[in-house]
């Protein structure tokens, strides 16, 4: 009884401590990301540059045109993936759920590989039209189309069933995978390499102008999902129970589907596939502050953003002057960390 009482207390305490702690860590990571890199910038210079002094030297360009945009992208993408993961896990009532279930990943891969493999031939018009944006736009369109297809298959007669999303998702993902497989088969070695790296994710090479559309989509969708926190709590009681409490369950599921597709689609479009973040962040936070989405989802925003910022810092500095794909880093940091927390929580349960 005492131990369980402590659990309630511990959760409340963790909530009080965690948020200021995460914000403080974010500030630390901001300065670390600004100073560390191929060219080191002194802490004092960073401070001066951040408040707007000395604006026309090389360090200023590096900071404002490369490091800060990249940090913002890392934070926003990490936040968007994590909050989407939390929403998906709630809607599927399954801690293993991820946005791949609704076709986000397979659709984005299809769009990206179409642009990479057919960009010089069949789709040369598309590539000419969109220029630098061709790959992100292709990935986003692929994602949107596949998600829309799964959505249409799953909704009928005024309902929107989670089981049919799951089944339609499996079928459509398999079809899309076979098309992707065929395109991979006919691709050249260079295209294959491009595709492989895209699949491992990267935050590099994105300017403000390239990433702003994605940032806007991710921020709007994430904020929209934050507003669904209480309905998602009630949804965990069961669909009819949530309905009895006045939640329009079908609308809720559709909203989560749409916002997740948008947030994750926009992330994948600009950064490629970054696995693990959307799955691990809600999990870890749930262990510390409990499953209440009113705390969990804001926590996901900050912790997810922080985690991906740190992962990107590692990815771009560990093998200077080159850099690692960020997907490798998120799995390499996230995997063992998650295992450690899992083992610890089993020990406390025993």
């Amino acid at each position: 009884m005492l131990a369980l009482n402590n659990q309630a207390l511990a959760r409340e305490k963790s909530r009080q401590i965690l948020f200021p702690l995460l914000v403080a860590l974010s500030v630390v990571v901001l300065f670390a990301s600004a100073t560390i890199g191929g060219v080191s910038i002194d802490f004092s210079d960073v401070l001066a540059l951040l408040v707007g002094n000395n604006t026309d030297n090389m360090e200023s360009v590096i900071l404002w045109e490369i490091r800060i945009p990249r940090l913002v992208l890392a934070f926003v993408v990490g936040a968007g993936l994590s909050v989407s993961g939390a929403a998906m896990q709630a809607i599927f009532r399954n801690p293993l759920a991820d946005p791949g279930l609704i076709g986000v990943s397979s659709g984005a891969v299809l769009g990206a590989i179409l642009v990479i493999v057919l960009g010089n031939t069949v789709l040369s018009g598309f590539v000419a039209q969109f220029g630098l944006y061709a790959l992100p736009v292709g990935a986003f369109l692929g994602c949107a189309l596949v998600c829309l297809f799964i959505y249409r298959l799953s909704s009928g007669q005024g309902t929107f069933s989670v089981i049919s999303i799951l089944l339609a998702g499996i079928a459509v993902n398999a079809i899309v995978a076979s098309i992707t497989g065929f395109l991979t088969y006919i691709s050249s070695d260079q295209e294959l390499r491009d595709m492989t790296f895209w699949n491992m994710g990267s935050l590099s090479g994105n300017s403000w102008s390239l990433m702003t559309p994605s940032l806007i989509v991710i921020v709007i969708s994430s904020v929209a999902m934050l507003r669904l926190a209480t309905p998602l709590n009630l949804y965990l009681l069961g669909e009819s129970q949530a309905k009895h409490l006045g939640i329009s369950v079908t609308t809720l599921k559709k909203q989560v589907f749409m916002f997740t597709a948008l947030a994750v689609g926009a992330s994948v479009a600009i950064c490629g596939m970054i696995g693990f973040v959307g799955f691990i962040v809600p999990h870890l936070l749930r262990m510390v502050i409990g499953p209440d989405h009113r705390f969990l989802m804001p926590g996901c925003i900050i912790f997810g953003g922080l985690l991906l910022s740190v992962a990107d810092l590692v990815a771009r500095t560990i093998v200077l002057p080159s850099e690692l794909p960020i997907g490798l880093v998120t799995s390499a940091i996230g995997g063992p960390f998650f295992l450690a927390v899992l083992l610890k929580s089993y020990k406390t349960l025993r």
């Binding site: 009884m1 369980l4 009482n5 659990q7 309630a8 207390l9 959760r11 709630a90 009532r93 399954n94 801690p95 209480t230 709590n233 009630l234 965990l236 009681l237 069961g238 009819s240 129970q241 309905k243 009895h244 409490l245 006045g246 939640i247 329009s248 369950v249 749930r286 409990g290 499953p291 209440d292």
Partner: protein, 264 residues
């Protein structure tokens, strides 16, 4: 009043409910009885707006259930279903406070916490409020879910001008010990005294006879008897419905009991 009028429900070829008429007034406890698969829960779901009728109509306060929004229904009635599972480890008080969502606009946070504590005290789970819901026993979970449902209607009762709500309870005592079985039904009666219309599905005939103002006996989707416990629980009637010879016994100072005959 809540009402099923000439209600039928077909699932494919299977008739779950056949031309049923059920009425529940404010301030009374009405119980649906019958063997497994008789259509009790189906009738309850039709009344609460969970499943659509094939024929007839289901009304709350004279208006068709389907013409209310989910939000409107939530302030007219609370429903306790037979499912007590909950994904992820919420605390007991968090589960009970989920019902506060319905009244978040009309009451202050402090008032809502008072209501949920009152509800937990009523169903005897206040001591468990900081425990992990998923660590509780089946019976404790059931009482926590009942507290959540009661927490949905307490704020409505608090407002003198609001129409009295209805409470739907589907086998609320199935996992409970003897004391809590009677305690839960006493709570239902107390709520009825405050004007709540209670409709319950029960399997325990003695419990139903002890606390219900009226009973409906269902068999294979039909209502075979309705009225007071003496009228409904006649030996022949119970035998035809359940295939068991049972005798309803009253004794001063005790709740009614049911004696079951040995053999057939």
């Amino acid at each position: 009043m809540i009402e099923l009028k000439n209600a039928s429900i077909q699932f494919g070829r299977y008739t779950a409910l056949n031309n049923c008429n059920i009425q529940v007034n404010r301030g009374e406890v009405v119980t649906l009885l019958g063997p497994n698969g008789a259509g009790k829960s189906t009738a309850l779901k039709a009344l609460s707006g969970d499943i659509a009728l094939s024929e007839g109509c289901a009304q709350i306060n004279g208006t068709d259930v389907s013409s209310y929004s989910d939000k409107e229904l939530a302030s007219l009635r609370a429903v306790m279903t037979q499912s007590y599972e909950l994904m992820f480890d919420f605390l007991v008080k968090e589960v009970v406070e989920m019902a506060s969502f319905v009244h978040a606009e009309a009451f202050s946070k402090k008032q809502l916490i008072d209501f949920s504590e009152q509800a937990m005290t009523m169903t005897d789970v206040y001591e468990l409020k900081d425990k992990n819901f998923n660590s509780l026993s089946g019976g404790q979970k059931q009482r926590v879910q009942l507290a959540r449902v009661i927490n949905q209607i307490l704020p409505i009762l608090d407002d003198e001008h609001a129409p009295r709500p209805y409470l739907f309870i589907d086998e609320p005592t199935s996992s409970l010990d003897l004391y809590h079985q009677y305690e839960v039904m006493r709570i239902a009666t107390k709520l009825a005294e405050k004007g709540v219309g209670v409709i319950a599905v029960l399997h325990d005939l003695a419990l139903a006879a002890s606390f219900s103002d009226r009973l409906y006996l269902l068999s294979q989707g039909n209502i075979v008897a309705s009225g007071s416990s003496e009228e409904v629980l006649k030996q022949q009637q119970v035998f035809e419905t359940y295939g068991v010879r049972a005798h309803l016994q009253h004794q001063g100072g005790f709740y009614p009991s049911i004696q079951i005959a040995k053999g057939n």
